[in-house]
Symmetry: C2
Subunit: 341 residues, 2 copies
């Protein structure tokens, strides 16, 4: 279904105005703010049409109109132009990242923080699980009297380590032998392809020092399981306190709980995202309890996998700004990660 030019203009006016003020928009306001040379009465007729078509709704008889979910959807799909980040903002972001490129951990935190600041919504960055990376290198490093460090490096450049006890009877030479043997089996394989039975096989092939080898394998297994989790960072949670729609404590509680609990939060982020920005408005998000939020999310590529980045805010959201920002920041994040890691 397509709308004629004037209806589009009116719809857009109402959306822009309502997003800004959070108040229902009346016909007079539409005419004044956007300097149309038609009368309020005409606008009223158009608005009545738009309401009938489902793009607008009225909180109560004789209030102004507010965009319906469908109205936002139409705007986003058919009319929206993404608003780009200003050069200045891009510069700021790049400066932030140049100063703090030590760990990918830090990078995603800074990026998320920046995104929240710029959009003034809550933002998130999901860094993909490393379990699809390949094992590159494993070493058992004696570090003190009875301790050694099991160090694993993946081809994506991630480093994981874990401390283990070493019995008296095990010599540094033993450690080297064991390390080499394991390296042979593991190297080049995907982390999540290494199963318990592989671990058992190694255990059997190395006849001596069984007990100790078990310890090493435990450490490896620990490394494998922890590396399976993707990393989630959320920033700007408090921004939602500024949105009038969450002045109601019950609603606020629900959405804060959502942002507070990583597992819960992940469940509302779409599984498959592309490099294109995707927008989910209100009830398009399938989640228990919280229907009054929108999500703007984009994928980014790193380590041969896809991470996710986006913002979460009220339905009354500046989609144009959010989409443009998420898009650009995602691209920059992707670049930086490629460059550095």
């Amino acid at each position: 279904m397509t709308l004629d030019a004037r209806k589009k203009l009116i719809l857009e006016s109402i959306i822009k105005d309502y997003v800004e003020t959070a108040e229902p928009v009346g016909s007079r306001t539409v005419v004044k703010k956007h300097a149309l040379n038609i009368s309020p009465a005409t606008v009223r007729n158009e608005m009545a049409d738009l309401e009938e078509m489902g793009y607008l709704e009225q909180p109560y008889t004789s209030a102004g109109r507010i965009p319906s979910q469908m109205g936002y959807r139409y705007y986003v799909d058919c009319m929206m132009e993404k608003e780009a980040l200003s050069d200045k903002e891009i510069e700021i972001l790049q400066k932030i990242l140049q100063d703090n490129i030590h760990e990918w951990n830090e990078v995603i935190e800074k990026v998320s923080y920046f995104l929240a600041q710029v959009t003034s919504y809550a933002s998130f960055v999901i860094f993909p699980s490393v379990s699809l990376s390949h094992f590159k290198y494993l070493q058992i490093l004696p570090i003190e009297e009875n301790k050694a460090l099991v160090i694993a490096v993946t081809d994506s450049g991630l480093i994981m380590h874990r401390k283990i006890d070493v019995p008296e009877s095990v010599t540094p030479g033993d450690l080297e032998t064991i390390g080499k043997a394991m390296n042979k089996v593991f190297s080049g394989r995907r982390l999540n392809d290494i199963s318990r039975s592989d671990l058992r096989m190694i255990r059997d092939s190395l006849r001596r020092r069984k007990k100790f080898i078990d310890k090493v394998l435990d450490a490896v297994e620990y490394i494998l399981t922890t590396s399976e989790e993707e990393r989630l960072v959320i920033s700007g949670t408090l921004n939602i306190l500024n949105e009038p729609e969450f002045k109601d404590l019950e609603k606020l509680k629900k959405i804060l709980a959502l942002l507070d609990e990583g597992v819960l939060f992940k469940s509302i982020v779409p599984e498959d995202v592309t490099d294109e920005v995707e927008i989910r408005i209100g009830t398009e998000n399938k989640i228990e309890g919280v229907k009054e939020i929108s999500l703007v999310v984009s994928g980014y590529n790193t380590l041969g996998q896809r991470g996710k980045i986006g913002v979460i805010g009220p339905i009354r959201m500046e989609y144009w700004k959010a989409a443009g920002t998420v898009e650009t920041v995602g691209k920059i994040l992707e670049e930086i990660l490629k460059e550095r890691f």
Copy 2:
């Protein structure tokens, strides 16, 4: 100043009641709930006395009384008996910790979470800075074509690492030589005693490979500076949404901002804490803007230093429960850390 037995009893009744209900307590209620065999009129007289002395206050004429800050202080100092954790709860905590003893990181997170759950206030754990630990061991480990890993281990058992680029011209043998030389200078020294001039000295003593050595030193410096920060974990932030005193959005915003910003939060935690539980009520906390919170905090020992653990909640707090819980959980945390790390 000491109160006679009956005044104490009445003060306690009012505190317990008000903490539970968040409503001003009237004379009838005191008599009924605590089955005193004196009349409401007598209680009224006593309450008037207590108010004159400053232990109670009246929100308005002819409302019931609520405890003043001074009232809570008197109760905490002269009457309170800490309420111990139940055996069952202790058991649960220990079970949680036995399952998750891999990293001290995890331990403090679990402990903090537990504390928030049990008290239903917001909780925090501060893990001391490791900058006072001693350098134990440093190794430069080649991990792939042109990369090496600088690994540092402290005597407190913490492991830090950082990846660096290695120029073609530097051989594994070089790495070993450099590593050994650095080890000699660093080992046994406190992390925060190692200054830039030490780093420069090393740079000068090793004539060759200056550029590369700079890189290694950069990595070491990075490790030193990041290890200076103490770690802060806050849990149960959302619990404060349940307290009626924070139904006001402005107050809520302030306190959430406080809990959200680590630096800000640390500024209200007392510098010096002992093994004894310390309680700060309301304005006894010197902090801009937020006067309506109380803090219950205790120190715990680890790595030869002192960490802090506690809860933060409204002035209308179950101090008896909070104090007992913080005390016990702190002790258990201390034990676990000693055992494992």
